[in-house]
């Protein structure tokens, strides 16, 4: 059905297709704006299809290995090299495939939405090319098994993200936010590269599996771990390095913000990959409980600071941005509990559930937070304001948007039957067994989130129809379709959480926790 050459080279095509599409987008735009948009949409659709093929292959046949430049994809170790990988290797295990699906779905929905939402802007060909490049960056970061390659894609991600944040100048405000985002990302990138240099200087390898097998955990490795985790946590917007998040999320075009959420989660994936895969083999020397608790404390702080900062906001996108910080805390909490229990007997009983909850929450957050940002963008598109105090009564004219916002708001607050409930329930249950206090904090934060979103819902949609918004209509169909796609996923994943967890999330969590399998898939059965 699918040609063999595509299946064989799917990991390369996953990057090459959006990249190639981005390269020719400015050229294609000469044939007309509509052609260019169709082209961008087609590119994201094909990328999503390839991500789907990869996920299906990974879940059916195990980790996919792709060696760039070798005679065959599986030829990771040249015969004459004495057992070391020398080329760049993509190692797509269940976790990578999982992140790839998030990026692909979100990319497609955002592209669909942006077709209508950006139609009043100039420079659209550059906008869509950058959107595709941001997708390239995310997909590359989550697929690669090579440290330096990871850095290169991190930079693509950062630069494309920073450029997109400044898309609408807004009298300089967006440029200011983009400046902050770009500066922080570049600094983070340099810190990551220094850490990679430290690892390379000691072990002479860049492949993650190879470095993991050689890892001695010297003091320098500790410094490298601290640098990597700091820089990537900074880019993922966790407290205390969250200061750029509200600015960048709040001032980017809404379509971009929905995708920046995924870009931040790719950095979060980087944290997990580095802690589990790169440093996972040194259980004896590294105190995992301490590392786990550091992650947990960061998570709880993110949850709490995010939600308390969100409540007084009156700009709808800044408010949602602070909630994004808060939700990142849930992922850190879930996975942090998993890290703290790694290697103990409890890991297999509830540690893994906590990790699954955290990882499932990554997916859910990308979907419902993307949906919320898109609905906020829809309202700003029609009303021209993002100030909650000036909105009201929009429920009369924007029924679909109201519905989608309601779905997203209930999902973020963890109300059944939406997907946020499914993952939060897993986190509550397992974290309660680990430490009841943490579970209580998590629930309190959820209630505060609900309160905050009830307020927003009321401010935006309820009340009498305001005279200044008498002309307001529903947004164009592509925007509704983009939001609808995400809303359907939010509902479906909330209704059938068990199937999703068993099919996608559990393999991802197991793959992340099983460092031995990762190394064996690259280096052979060593």
């Amino acid at each position: 059905m699918i040609p063999e050459i595509i299946i064989r080279n799917a990991p390369a095509l996953l990057i090459a297709v959006p990249m190639l599409a981005a390269f020719v987008t400015p050229v294609i735009a000469k044939a007309g704006n509509g052609v260019m948009k169709a082209w961008a949409l087609l590119a994201t659709a094909v990328t999503a299809a390839i991500a789907g093929i990869i996920a299906w292959q990974v879940l059916d046949f195990g980790t996919i290995i792709y060696t760039f430049g070798a005679a065959a994809p599986g030829l990771t170790i040249p015969l004459d090299s004495g057992g070391i990988p020398v080329r760049i290797i993509f190692t797509i295990d269940a976790m990578s495939a999982f992140m790839g699906i998030i990026a692909a779905i979100s990319g497609f929905a955002v592209c669909l939405y942006a077709i209508a939402s950006e139609k009043r802007q100039t420079g659209q060909e550059m906008f869509f090319a950058l959107l595709l490049l941001l997708e390239v960056g995310i997909l590359g970061m989550v697929s690669t098994g090579d440290l330096f390659n990871f850095f290169v894609f991190l930079e693509i991600n950062s630069i494309a993200g920073a450029a997109l944040v400044s898309y609408r100048i807004r009298g300089g405000l967006s440029v200011e936010a983009a400046m902050k985002y770009g500066f922080v990302s570049t600094l983070g990138g340099l810190i990551v590269l220094t850490a990679i240099g430290l690892l390379y200087g000691q072990y002479g390898a860049l492949n993650m599996a190879m470095v993991a097998t050689r890892m001695q955990f010297t003091v320098l490795d500790g410094i490298a771990l601290a640098m990597l985790v700091t820089a990537l946590a900074m880019k993922s917007g966790a407290v205390p390095m969250h200061f750029w998040t509200p600015d960048a999320y709040g001032l980017a075009p809404s379509s971009v913000t929905a995708f920046l959420v995924v870009a931040s989660q790719a950095s979060l994936y980087g944290v997990f990959r580095i802690v589990f895969t790169l440093y996972g083999g040194i259980v004896q020397t590294l105190d995992w409980t301490t590392v786990g608790w550091i992650v947990i404390v960061l998570g709880v702080l993110s949850m709490f600071v995010g939600v308390t900062m969100a409540i007084p906001q009156h700009d709808v996108k800044r408010l949602m941005a602070y909630h994004a910080v808060s939700q990142t805390g849930y992922m850190l909490l879930g996975v942090g509990v998993g890290i703290a229990l790694l290697g103990t007997a409890s890991f297999d009983t509830y540690g893994i559930v906590a990790m699954e909850g955290g990882i499932f929450h990554i997916f859910n957050h990308a979907m419902y937070k993307g949906l919320l940002f898109l609905t906020a963008g829809a309202i700003i598109y029609r009303t021209g304001t993002s100030d909650l105090n000036r909105m009201g009564g929009l429920g009369h004219s924007m029924k679909w948007t109201m519905l989608f916002f309601g779905i997203g708001a209930l999902a973020i607050a963890g109300i059944p039957p939406f997907n946020g409930f499914a993952s939060k329930l897993m986190i509550y249950e397992s974290v309660y067994l680990f430490n009841p206090l943490l579970a209580v904090i998590a629930m309190v934060v959820s209630i505060l989130t609900l309160a905050s979103f009830v307020k927003v819902f009321h401010a935006m949609f309820m009340g009498p129809k305001l005279p200044e918004f008498a002309e307001v209509q529903e947004v164009p169909a592509p925007m509704l379709l983009g939001m609808g796609l995400l809303a359907v996923i939010v509902v479906l994943f909330g209704v059938f959480p068990d199937q999703v967890v068993a099919g996608l999330v559990e393999p991802a969590a197991r793959a992340l926790a099983d460092q031995g399998a990762y190394i064996a898939s690259v280096l052979g059965g060593a």
Partner: protein, 114 residues
């Protein structure tokens, strides 16, 4: 001490960059600080691959002798180009901030704080 001079130079350059970023308010100077850190990282990478008495890993008319490590040089090359790209983008941001606010001082970037 003296044997590790290149790494000490890396430390000094990186620290100058960090101090510039933390203490200066002018955005152009902050970007310059970032460029200094980047230069330090590049020097760090190249120094990692040096072998005593090594020659450049290029065989064209090469004298016999041990060669230094090529991977770090390739990484440095990549990072230099990435550095050009990020610096160009950040300086463009600074130009736009200057145009809109009439100043390139980080102090004017307070409009976002509420």
């Amino acid at each position: 001490m003296i044997a590790n001079l290149p790494f000490i130079a890396v430390t000094v350059i990186a620290l100058i960059g960090i101090v510039v970023i933390l203490t200066r308010k002018n955005l152009v100077k902050m970007v310059m600080g970032l460029s200094l850190i980047e230069a330090a990282v590049n020097l760090f990478l190249v120094s990692l691959g040096y072998r005593n008495g090594g020659i450049a890993p290029i065989f064209t008319n090469a004298p016999a002798g041990e060669m230094v490590m090529p991977t770090v040089q390739a990484m440095t090359l990549t990072n230099i180009v990435i550095g050009i790209a990020t610096t160009a983008l950040l300086l463009s941001f600074v130009m736009l901030v200057y145009r809109k606010y009439g100043s390139a001082d980080a102090g004017v970037m307070r409009r976002l704080k509420e």
